[in-house]
């Protein structure tokens, strides 16, 4: 069967609905009696950058392998743009690109040969291949190294070649397993820039990573998984918003705050809670919105003569959210 004939929209797409790019429903999977995924469910919206976070052994790679059709789920379903990963395997494979957590390259080939091989393997016509290779090399900034052997490239360069390979069939969904692991800071920042560019091109990027700070900046939505169970799946902004009952701000003071500062803050009108952040010159202030406003509090603070260095809405860091949601202990 020609692989050109199977690139048809799914029934959900033809009916005018907009199916999620990835839809994982109640997946259960075990290895040798040990449950790796325990009723995992989440969705990834099209054209979004979705982070997939979890400690080692949480089930991230297993989930990725199921979504990318390499592993059959023992229970539950996974769909990509409405197509089942088991039933419509070939159609799903046409629409996704998977970059594993290791260099999956033919090191004895040149960059061009490697990309040409995969372009042909995805059924790209001979005449179109050169153009496609030029495009992906341009996007990954590897144009000048096109005739180099892959084994002679640095780790960062090899990662770019892997990414170029994933893009060769112009997939709608990119599944990236730890793409930044082992890269130096520059290579990591450059990779993140490429991912942003891909998102702006309308791709859906599903990225599994341990580098939480970068994910927080980059991703629209996130799924946190621990010991095979989904702990959170939704918008990143929602996750990072403070979970306090009242609106909360974070006040940073210059130097070690004096002992009476906390009492002064408590005495401010409308303040319902003051909390000193351990080992840092910071306070978390919650206030009653019906009694006061942000501006009023700020004005009052300026009147206290405290050396203020920062005053901002209290947003949780992804690290904090991650630590709150995942359990301690050996997996």
């Amino acid at each position: 069967m020609s692989i050109e004939t199977i690139d048809q929209p799914s029934p959900a797409e033809t009916s005018g609905q907009r199916p999620p790019a990835i839809d994982v429903v109640d997946i259960v999977h075990s290895f040798k009696g040990r449950r790796a995924l325990d009723h995992v469910s989440f969705q990834v919206q099209p054209h979004s950058l979705h982070g997939f976070v979890g400690p080692n052994g949480a089930g991230k790679t297993t989930t990725l392998k199921i979504v990318c059709t390499l592993l059959r789920p023992q229970y539950g379903e996974a769909r990509v743009f409405g197509r089942d990963v088991v039933e419509d395997q070939k159609a799903v494979r046409k629409r996704i690109g998977f970059m594993p957590d290791h260099f999956s390259t033919y090191r004895q080939m040149t960059v061009t040969e490697y990309l040409d091989f995969f372009a042909a393997a995805y059924g790209q016509p001979f005449a179109k291949r050169t153009e496609v290779i030029d495009q992906v090399l341009d996007l990954t900034d590897m144009d000048k190294r096109r005739d180099d052997m892959i084994s002679g490239l640095s780790r960062g360069m090899q990662q770019r070649v892997s990414l170029a390979r994933v893009l060769i069939n112009d997939p709608d969904v990119l599944l990236l397993d730890e793409p930044a692991s082992g890269l130096d800071p520059r290579a990591r920042i450059e990779l993140m820039e490429i991912l942003k560019a891909l998102k702006s091109m309308g791709k859906t990027v599903f990225i599994s990573s341990h580098i939480l700070s970068e994910l927080a900046e980059l991703c629209d939505s996130v799924t946190i998984i621990d010991r095979g169970k989904v702990k959170y799946s939704g918008l990143m902004s929602q996750l990072l918003t403070s979970t306090e009952e009242h609106p909360t701000f974070r006040l940073t003071v210059a130097g070690e705050p004096a002992a009476e500062v906390e009492a002064q803050l408590r005495a401010l009108p409308g303040i319902v809670k003051v909390e000193r952040i351990e080992a840092r010159p910071e306070f978390r202030l919650s206030y009653d919105a019906s009694l006061t406003s942000t501006n009023q509090i700020l004005a009052a603070l300026l009147g206290l003569n405290i050396p203020i260095q920062g005053f901002a809405e209290d947003r949780r860091h992804l690290n904090e959210a991650f630590m709150d949601l995942t359990a301690k202990g050996i997996r």
């Binding site: 494979r93 998977f98 033919y106 090191r107 004895q108 995969f118 052997m149």
Partner: protein, 555 residues
């Protein structure tokens, strides 16, 4: 130094004890011994000297086993550390070169010796069965032990010199083949020098050359075993003129029987190789962390000689990839084409000097082409086996299996396309084989009365049986390469050999069916049964390969 050696030795022994397959392998060996015992018992009903038959079986199997172990097990001793980039870590842990060499090779040598030692008491049963003497058993095992020392250290040397296990195994195999052939060449040369050139041992330098040739001609283990198994060897006895032979005379007698030229030369060669390995260790392991993959003879598209490059990818990319990057592409095909052509030229030249020029006979073109064709078939099988052992193993090594399985293609498509790429690599040998066929047809027509050897061969059921057996062997090699890190090919050879030896009933019945059935219908039935068994085996192995590939991809 001793701490390092004992640490490496202990680790190797612990790993060996934990691995299931090593125990299964030993169990298979024991089963083979029991099978041979049973066969010897059955044979004793019809023939004499069942003990000799039993001992022969065991000893020859051991010799083959040591050869295979040398190619795989021993030649990876140091290269596996290089490939895993752990050699530097060993050095940082204060383990010196001598400790690494001894620790890595001695453990393997001990494992192999253990296998010999374990079976020794069983082989003494051959004396009870009859037809064998004690000193025959001792001489046979001494020959095997010396061969083991020689080959293990030769493999260790190549393992130090080479960067990859494949290269080390290849060079060990090449030298092993030379070791097997050398005595025959030496014998031929010796008689030629003595008869045609009238060389004499009385002239010191001629005598020295002849002495070296004699040593070479006596240093091969298979010839030594054949000698040991002869009745004349068994007839040697202790000096009976002494009524009560002293311990010294017994030791002298066994020393004379056991310490043959082969035992001494093989052991000395082993020690020499170990010393060479030690000397080569430093220079050959310095920049081991900068291991890069090479393209062999495949040039880059940007090079001047574009015709030898892989060029643009073909319509079927897997065929293109495996043809160029597994079999060596156009350049390697041309090299092989010339090498095979050169082989034909060498055979004709040998005939010319051997028969035509010096002995005044005619050049026997048909026999020359016949020998060439047989050699080509052997090379074809060797090439195919090597490709079978690498076809998927390279994908596992490079961790590219998941990327391949992610393609919108079936596993069958991937497998058959890759196989087709390898088949293209066999083109040079196939070309010359076709040449032999055309030559045979023409020779038949020209010399008459007309006998068409090609049709004769094609209609021979033995040919199809052999082809299908080779097919099973290739499938088995491929399957094993998906389970073991190295040594799939030797393991497949050993399994096939053991199956052939321990299942003589099946093979024998099938053989008898084909040979004894006179009428055409019976022959066809027998052939079909043979073909069916092999076809089913190939099919089952293919299914297992497919399932294993899926499993590897999902890991």
């Amino acid at each position: 130094m001793w701490t390092g050696i004992s640490a490496l030795l202990a680790r190797a022994m612990q790993l060996d004890a934990r691995k299931l397959w090593t125990h299964l392998f030993r169990l298979a060996f024991v089963l083979f011994i029991y099978g041979s015992l049973l066969m010897a018992q059955l044979q004793s009903m019809s023939f004499g000297a069942p003990g000799l038959y039993f001992l022969q079986n065991i000893v020859f199997l051991n010799a083959v086993f040591i050869s295979l172990a040398g190619v795989s097990f021993f030649s990876s001793a140091i290269t596996e550390e290089k490939e895993e980039k752990t050699l530097g870590l060993l050095q940082m842990a204060g383990i010196g070169p001598m400790s690494v060499l001894l620790g890595k090779s001695t453990s393997r040598l001990i494992q192999a010796f253990m296998l010999l030692l374990v079976q020794f008491p069983f082989t003494l049963l051959s004396i009870t069965l009859g037809g064998v003497t004690m000193h025959q058993v001792a001489a046979a095992y001494a020959a095997l032990a010396a061969f083991l020392i020689g080959l293990a250290n030769l493999a260790l040397f190549w393992s130090v010199v080479c960067r990859r296990t494949g290269s080390a195994a290849g060079l060990t195999t090449l030298m092993l083949v030379m070791y097997v052939i050398a005595p025959f060449v030496a014998q031929g040369l010796m008689s030629e020098l003595q008869i045609s050139w009238s060389w004499s041992a009385k002239v010191w330098w001629q005598g020295s050359v002849l002495w070296v040739l004699r040593i070479i001609s006596e240093s091969q283990v298979f010839l030594r075993i054949t000698e040991v198994m002869q009745t004349s060897f068994a007839a040697a006895t202790l000096d009976t003129t002494e009524l009560n032979p002293s311990w010294w005379s017994i030791i002298r007698f066994y020393g004379r029987m056991v310490l043959s030229t082969q035992v001494i030369t093989n052991t000395l060669f082993g020690i020499f190789c170990f010393l060479c390995a030690r000397l080569a260790y430093g220079p050959c392991t310095q920049d081991v962390d900068q291991l890069t993959d090479t393209r062999g003879l495949v040039l880059k598209s940007s090079s001047r000689m574009k015709m030898f490059s892989a060029g643009r990818c073909w319509g079927n990319p897997l065929v293109w990839k495996d043809f160029h990057f597994l079999t060596g592409g156009y350049s390697m095909a041309i090299v092989k084409w010339f090498l095979y052509g050169g082989l034909l030229f060498a055979i004709i030249l040998f005939q010319y000097y051997g028969d035509y020029r010096w002995r005044g006979g005619d050049i026997d073109w048909e026999s020359a082409v016949g020998v060439f064709a047989m050699t080509l078939v052997a090379f074809l099988v060797i090439e195919a086996s090597l490709y079978a052992s690498r076809i998927f193993h390279d994908e596992i090594r490079l961790q590219t299996m998941s990327s391949l399985l992610m393609l919108p293609r079936s596993v069958a498509y991937l497998g058959y396309s890759k196989a087709l790429g390898c088949l293209l690599g066999l083109f040079p040998a196939a070309f010359w084989l076709l040449f032999c066929g055309v030559f045979a047809l023409l020779a038949g027509w020209l010399t008459g009365p007309y006998v068409d050897p090609v049709t004769d061969l094609v209609l021979n059921p033995g040919l199809w049986g052999t082809l299908l057996t080779i097919s099973v062997f290739l499938h088995l090699t491929t399957l094993l390469s998906l389970f073991v890190k190295w040594g799939a090919l030797p393991l497949a050879i050993l399994i096939m050999m053991m199956m052939t030896c321990t299942c003589p009933m099946i093979v024998g019945v099938a053989g008898m069916l084909i040979q004894s059935v006179n009428d055409d219908a019976g022959l066809i039935v027998a052939t079909l049964v043979m073909m069916l068994i092999n076809l089913v085996a190939s099919f089952v192995l293919q299914m297992m390969i497919g399932a294993r590939l899926q499993e590897i991809g999902s890991k």
